[in-house]
């Protein structure tokens, strides 16, 4: 049990033991959310700034609620409401937040490395809520937390991550965490979105979802987008859906207790059939609930809180 860091920028930076510490602490905090009185005084008097320079609803609200349940004061800033619009640099804006005595800065930004960039330059804790295509550490943690909660362990579990892996920070955080904790990860998608350069990360690569259906313990479906910049990567959502969508028929070939995950927001009928999203094995809403516990644990630990064992649930 240890956690000696003020920041959480990337799961790649941390040991398996440190990451287990977060998961164990999150287990303790999950109990708080189940109570009638959903609040503990752990971060009373601390100020958290949600600094979201890229749009987000679920992650921002999750961090906000997590901070509130820890009794921290919370301020939200979006790009349009910040001085970045007026040409101020990211570093100057962040230094201003620090000058206002923010203790924790949760940042989402379109540039990979931006959380690390601030963490290296500020005394405040910096928590990465998604930096470009790099990492989304709390999403990786909540996915692992959900797998452990539902299946009892992570080691040896076969996880297929399906979709736009190349541009996905969720995929990268999942890969880092799951491989460190001993899961067997297979990335699934067309070669343009799952290039061979992922192999050195300790994963298998498959270019057909049908190859992984029978063997997987977890299928994590990523949101597929076909915006302008993706048009040269695959022909369209129709062809994608036909080759990689988790249809009802394909879902019928999954293991009896296979978990179906999605980081949201879902495109029903594209990467996942509506009935599958709402059906047996789907833990999509559990992921959202667990995200709160994981984020409470991260905020608490990065503020210097002592790690908690799972058994500390009833305190």
């Amino acid at each position: 049990m240890n956690w000696q860091h003020k920041d959480l920028c990337a799961l790649a930076d941390h040991t398996a033991q440190e990451l287990m510490t977060i998961l164990d602490t999150a287990t303790a905090f999950k109990g708080v959310g189940e109570r009638n009185l959903k609040k503990v005084p752990a971060l009373r008097g601390k100020t958290l700034v949600n600094f979201f320079i890229e749009p987000s609803t679920r992650t921002r609200i999750s961090f906000e609620l997590a901070a509130m349940r820890l009794s921290a004061d919370v301020v939200n800033i979006s790009a349009s409401a910040s001085s970045l619009e007026k040409g101020e640099t990211l570093l100057d804006t962040a230094r201003n937040l620090e000058a206002l005595r923010a203790d924790l800065i949760v940042i989402r930004h379109k540039s990979a490395g931006s959380a690390r960039f601030l963490a290296d330059r500020l005394n405040a804790s910096v928590i990465n809520a998604g930096d470009g295509a790099h990492e989304h550490p709390t999403q990786g943690l909540l996915d692992a937390f959900t797998i452990r909660e539902k299946l009892g362990h992570i080691e040896g579990v076969r996880v297929a991550i399906v979709g736009d892996i190349l541009f996905s920070r969720v995929a990268r955080s999942n890969i880092q965490l799951l491989t460190k904790l001993g899961a067997k990860v297979t990335l699934v998608g067309p070669p343009t979105l799952v290039p061979a350069s992922f192999s050195p990360l300790g994963v298998e690569i498959a270019h057909s979802i049908d190859e992984v259906l029978e063997e997987s313990d977890v299928i994590n479906l990523l949101r597929i987008q076909h915006e302008r910049q993706r048009k040269e990567y695959f022909p369209g959502v129709g062809e994608y859906s036909a080759r990689f969508g988790l249809t009802k028929k394909r879902a019928g070939r999954l293991k009896e207790n296979c978990l179906i995950m999605h980081p949201g927001p879902m495109n029903r009928g594209v990467e996942i059939d509506s009935a599958v999203a709402d059906g047996k094995g789907s833990v999509i809403l559990d992921q959202v609930t667990n995200g709160l516990a994981v984020r409470m644990a991260v905020l608490y630990l990065c503020s210097g809180g002592a790690p908690m064992a799972s058994s500390a649930t009833d305190q």
Binding site: T89, L91, G132, P200
Partner: protein, 429 residues
């Protein structure tokens, strides 16, 4: 310049004349001469190496237009500090060096403020836009030593072909920054394992290779020399090797960072390692060093590219490409090529820093021949030191080599018979 020097006891390495022996060198009125002059200032070079003044054909001195990053004066001091007596400036200034008036402005500025020799290149196309030809004849008359759109690469092959054909009548070599833009797209680092890990957009080696191949074909077709700048990829080296064996008039240069640093350095998102073309893999480094050793790459250069700290202190993908180079260039080449890899001898390395660049650009420099301008670098190839970026004369601090332990260093830099810098006493003016 009414001054005489007598450099005594040093190992004189003058590849242009096939000399490598202990002997004395004499200078009078800025020119290398046979006889020692009475009252000559004596420089004891015992135990040191006396080389023709080093030449760097790829630097960015940022004037006119971006003098907060570097000026011709401060850039020249970086050169002297690093043992370079002659530099060739790239035309991506503001305004772009695509007209005789801008060239004249730079030459005037260099003449009045620079402590080393500064030559200019002219842009191939107006505004580096890759579309319309610059007034190449007028640029030649103004004294540019080569044409290049460095920083950009002409994507339109028809435009590039005509420019090379047109340049031929003036004997001006065309230098190209090899980067196919649809493949490099918004890439900010080498495409590969590390760009995958870091989630940063990749700039694949393929984008360089494709333009190197184009340039080989154009040089072969036109018979006019094309020089490929800052080669970073193993496959480009292979293409160049094959072409040079066939006698195609194509040359290439390599930079210190491309033989010493890999893309793994980017794992901390430190923008001081962001450069174009990007740092690549260990296999690319091996291939470039092999290419230098077998003559495929015949010129060494820095691509000295200063940027202000506040410009580099931003999100990684927003930061400008480029790194300082002149101050550490000789040391990194000696550390890697001579000491670590033992890939070349010291005279061979000096050849790539003197005779070869002089030959490509037809400069009357890079030699210790009697009658030549007295540009001389006294160096110690074994001098151990640790580089501190705060010792740099540059206005910028964007070096990737801060606190690197290096072997080899210039001790005295002599330009036109005048000592402009030496390690013990620093700059003379």
């Amino acid at each position: 310049m009414n001054h005489s020097l007598h450099i005594t006891g040093g190992r004189v390495i003058d590849p242009a004349n096939g000399i490598d022996e202990i002997r004395d060198i004499n200078v009078r009125d800025g020119i290398l001469v046979h006889e020692k002059s009475p009252h000559a200032e004596v420089i004891d070079a015992t135990g040191k190496v006396v080389s023709p003044g080093l030449i760097d054909i790829h630097v960015h001195f940022r004037e006119p237009g971006q003098s907060h990053k570097e000026t011709i004066a401060t850039g020249a001091r970086c050169a002297a500090f690093g043992g370079f007596t002659t530099v060739v400036c790239m035309p991506n200034t503001s305004p772009v060096a695509d007209s005789p008036s801008t060239i004249a402005w730079i030459q005037e500025r260099a003449a009045t403020t620079a402590c080393v020799n500064v030559f200019c290149t002219g842009a191939i196309t107006r505004g580096l836009a890759g579309e319309e030809m610059s007034p190449i004849g007028a640029l030649a008359q103004a004294g540019v030593v080569a044409l290049t759109d460095d920083g950009r690469c002409i994507q339109n092959h028809g435009v590039m072909r005509r420019a090379v054909e047109y340049a031929r009548q003036f004997g001006l070599p065309v230098m190209d920054h090899c980067q196919e833009a649809t493949l490099s797209a918004d890439g900010v680092m080498n495409e590969g394992e590390w760009s995958t890990r870091l989630g940063l957009p990749g700039w694949p080696a393929l984008a360089e290779d494709l333009i190197v191949a184009r340039n080989i074909l154009l040089a072969e077709e036109t018979g006019h020399p094309i020089h490929c700048q800052h080669i970073s990829s193993a496959r480009s080296v292979r293409l160049l090797r094959e072409a040079r064996l066939r006698g195609v008039p194509i040359t290439a240069e390599a930079c210190p960072h491309h033989i010493s640093l890999t893309d793994e350095r980017l794992k901390t998102f430190d923008t001081n390692f962001k450069v174009n073309p990007p740092l690549r893999t260990p296999a690319d480094i091996d291939a470039i060093i092999a290419g230098i050793a077998d003559g495929t790459i015949s010129i060494l250069a820095s691509d000295h590219a200063p940027h202000a700290t506040y410009e580099k202190e931003v999100e990684f993908d927003q930061a400008p490409f480029g790194m300082l180079g002149l101050e550490t260039e000789l040391a990194v080449f000696l550390e890697i090529l001579l000491h670590q890899r033992k890939a070349l001898t010291l005279p061979q390395i000096i050849t790539l820093l003197t005779v070869n660049p002089a030959k490509l650009l037809r400069l009357d420099r890079g030699t210790l021949s009697v009658g030549a301008p007295a540009d001389i670098t006294i160096l110690d190839p074994d001098h151990s030191w640790t580089y501190d970026r705060n010792d740099s004369p540059s206005l910028s601090r964007n070096t990737p080599f801060h606190e690197f332990a290096l072997r080899g260093r210039a001790l005295t830099t002599i330009v036109g018979g005048k000592v402009v810098w030496d390690l013990e006493s620093g700059f003379r003016s």
